[in-house]
Amino acid sequence: MGPSGQDQTSSAAPAPSVLRRVLDSDLTHSFLRSKVTVAAATGTLLFVLAAILAPMIAPHDPFDLAGLSIMDARIPPVWMEYGEPRFLLGTDDQGRDLLSGILYGLRISLIVGICSVFAAAAIGISLGLVAGYAGGKIDALIMRIADVQLTFPAILIALLIDGAVRGIFGNLDREIFSFWILICSLALSFWVQYARTVRSSTLVEKNKEYVQAARVIGIPSVIIMIRHILPNVLGPVFVIATINLALAIVTEATLSFLGVGMPSTQPSLGTLISIGNDFLYSGEWWIAIFPGVALAVLVLNVNLLGDWLRDALNPKLR
């Protein structure tokens, strides 16, 4: 939208409502123009809804041990021979309904993914702000750590942190702590990108007049960073967060698949695939393939959404 377009709207309606402004924004237009993006957003929304509503829409409760029967183990999907209408997508080796397992697993995968993205963003934004604003030795130290970490892929760092944490705290109760260990290792593996982006925008912002004015009237640095600089450097962070959400979900699934993520009593999609992998050779393919397809479709949707957001917010491409 050019400057003239902005004038027209503001002269016609002096104080347009928030809804109106959102509907008229460039972002909404570019969103509605791309069919793929609308589909991806709908898909993502459906996944999130399915995850939130899992306890209500799941046909069985996979955590209700009393409801499990070994007689129901390894039943194929309903359209195959020996399939049963009770279990749409079949059951796993313990007789758990696969569809319900996937819905609950989706919930865990999404919660871990979103929490770790928030944690990584929090670490990265604070370190980036401090590095950019303070400069000097603090900046050099933080950025060197970031450089060293960037030479390694995140999955390796997450594995190392996971191993080290379990070494430090001995054999913790996996059922309680796996979740937190996962989020810690994911957050510590993914903070670098946020820190670098925020630092470079902070370097630009801190020399602008509003920051200098704030400094002159004696506002403490911490308040300047949080109240004045932070809102102006958040834009790119949203893009990184969306793209990293897909990455975090994949990494969590990978760790769980490798046996160092969520335990089989609280399975995420990765854990379900890992369980199913043992039965692939004996012909029970559905135990691994269905959770895998759910994971892949979820990640594809989030990736598409992230790609669009990156292009839409990139002024160079307009």
């Binding site: 060197r144 030479t151 999955i155 692939l280």
Partner: protein, 324 residues
């Protein structure tokens, strides 16, 4: 040139020292090394003697120096779970990982470059669009799930290819084993290398496509066309050369990721390489193996980065002009 190389070298050494410090702190502070090495019935005196012998009572800087000196000589102590020298464990498994990584990198380049050139030159053809959609799906599928799908299709359903292990290997020299020389070894390589290389392949394809699109719009390509050169000569001799600069950088850097992601692929295919060893170490909190893996991969990464930087400098004359 020399100054540039020297600066890069100093940076590389600093990174290695930092990694060594992390590995050392893991070894020294995550759990008690002595408790891990002795049995329950060992007396306190014997424990103290071992502690003294390992030098764990020395000042920390001295311990660190010794750790670095030992690591530089490929001595990483004894594995907690296997009770064998870590160096021997790795030596046995390095050939498997390197052969797998090499084959997947080769696959990624040989498939990715032609697909990228084609998609860049024939933007609107349905085949290019198919390549792009497949690459998007390839990026969204987690590595381990690609492996599972391939196993399901080619090993379980069609029974064409083996799903685990290296097949028959041939010993070359005292410690190198290769699967390149036997039929079963080559067959065993196919699925793991595709799994490992698929992501890199899509990356290279997209990169070459984007670069091609940019390069064919430049003046020197128009000039070459005006000179009446054939399309083939223009694309392959003039355009491709310039698209290769970023490809070398990315491929170089990706070589490191290939080795790291080998951990996942090796687990899926029970491939007896370093990655599988590392994963078992993480599951059993076998710190010396983890520390050694960290240092070894860091060394590989840093060397690759160093070589790529130097290559970049040699290939792109513009960088040299800026330095002068």
């Amino acid at each position: 040139m020399l100054g540039f190389a020297l600066r890069r070298f100093v940076q590389a050494v600093i990174v290695m020292l930092a990694v060594a410090l992390i590995a050392f702190s893991m070894f020294r502070f995550v759990g008690d090394p002595v408790n891990q090495m002795v049995g329950m019935e060992t007396s306190i005196e014997a424990r103290e003697a071992l502690r003294e012998r390992l030098g764990l009572n020395d000042p920390l800087p001295l311990q660190f120096t010794r750790f670095v000196t030992n690591a530089a000589q490929f001595d990483f102590g004894t594995s907690y779970q296997f009770r064998q020298p870590v160096a021997d464990l790795f030596a046995k498994r390095i050939p498997a990982t390197l052969e797998l990584s090499f084959t997947s990198a080769l696959f990624a380049l040989l498939a990715g470059i032609p697909m990228g050139i084609y998609a860049g030159l024939n933007r609107e053809s349905w085949l290019s669009k198919l390549f792009l959609s497949v690459s998007l799906i390839g990026i969204s599928l987690p590595t381990f799930f690609i492996g599972i799908l391939l196993i399901f299709l080619f090993s379980v359903t069609l029974q064409w290819l083996p799903s685990f292990g290296r097949g028959d290997v041939v010993e070359i020299g005292s410690w190198w084993t290769t699967g390149f020389l036997t039929v079963s070894g080559l067959k065993a390589l196919i699925l793991p290398s595709i799994t490992l290389g698929l992501y890199q392949m899509t990356l290279i394809m997209r990169l070459i496509r984007a670069e091609m699109l940019e390069v064919i719009r430049t003046d020197y390509i128009k000039f070459a066309r005006a000179r009446g050169l054939s399309n083939r000569a223009i694309y392959l001799r003039h355009a491709l050369k310039n698209t290769l600069i970023p490809v070398i950088t990315i491929t170089g850097l990706q070589l490191g990721s290939i080795i790291a992601f080998a951990t996942i692929t090796e687990t899926v295919f029970q491939w007896p390489g370093m990655g599988l060893l590392f994963l078992q170490a993480v599951q059993n909190v076998d710190i010396p193996v983890m520390a050694a893996y960290l240092i070894l991969t860091a060394f590989l990464f840093v060397s690759i980065n160093f070589i790529v930087d130097i290559l970049y400098f040699l290939i792109d004359p513009r960088l040299r002009v800026k330095q002068a």
